[in-house]
Symmetry: C2
Subunit: 195 residues, 2 copies
Amino acid sequence: MNRRREIVRRAAEIFLQKGVAQTSMEDIAQAVGIKREGLYYYFQSRNDILLEIILPQSDSLLLNLQRIIKSRMTAMEKLHAAIQSHLHAFYPAYLEMSVALREHYFVRDATKLQQLKRVWDDYSTLWTDLIKEGQANGEFKADLDPKMVAFAYLGMCNWFCRWYNPEKELSIDTIIATYFSLAATGVTALPAAAQ
Amino acid sequence: MNRRREIVRRAAEIFLQKGVAQTSMEDIAQAVGIKREGLYYYFQSRNDILLEIILPQSDSLLLNLQRIIKSRMTAMEKLHAAIQSHLHAFYPAYLEMSVALREHYFVRDATKLQQLKRVWDDYSTLWTDLIKEGQANGEFKADLDPKMVAFAYLGMCNWFCRWYNPEKELSIDTIIATYFSLAATGVTALPAAAQ
């Protein structure tokens, strides 16, 4: 089990460095310090390793969002919690998730790929529902297409992994605060009274 | 020249469908209806074709943004123009740019890759400058990190190509209006008087 975890972790690092397409099973075996045959004992292909990186994280992102939406918070509070949940998912597991986002279209296993797509579709739908909820109760602008708003925020949050360097940049909490501020009230300077 | 354009266009389509890593020069030659050797007359490698897709578009994105920033508009108007310029770049050339965004890290030609990175860095820096300008003159929230704001908006705009289907979705102008509304004042319902 520990060896399996180690393989997944090392593979994620190499995928990010070299790109999945440039990474061979041999590379992964070397990085872990085992023989190629030993690696095949755990995983049949590179893509199986990739899915093992992506799927559990996607599942837990979805579960968290379901919990947030079912809660008794206002839609605005839910938006805050959703951004927080999404960005926190990237943080401890930054490496794996950013690989997932960059490379998921290389997955070839049709069944598992379907599984992943279903989770991601459900996740986007839930985000759209959150926006609809806020529009229905008057908290959010009613004239915007809710799916488009949801995707705008998902884009904002997902792009984060393209440039964020946990060693150099501001803390994850500052990023969550910034993104929520932009999502809620945009970049326009607020009148002092409103703040 | 027409043949060259045709190769670039068809290659962009195949890259998007199959992923760059899964596309061979053979595939591209077949799609264009020429022999593999004929293709090599125009391009030495797959990545040369990719760069021919990416670089000119990145250059013109940068030029447009420079023009916008030098203009006499308010920072808020510039933000609107910048979002517009960015999303319009995706629209007529949707295919190529989305390929660029998904695959640019596969480029191996160090010199051209450097060239591309420089353009993209300059582009992000200009976006950050735009935000700083608005913060300095009181139009934008002063307490947010300008780079983070810039990347949030770039993410919002760039993610667009992951889900936007020009045949199915709302018009590009609706998307620009939506994104600008979110960027400027967020999702919060505005008091009637302010609108």
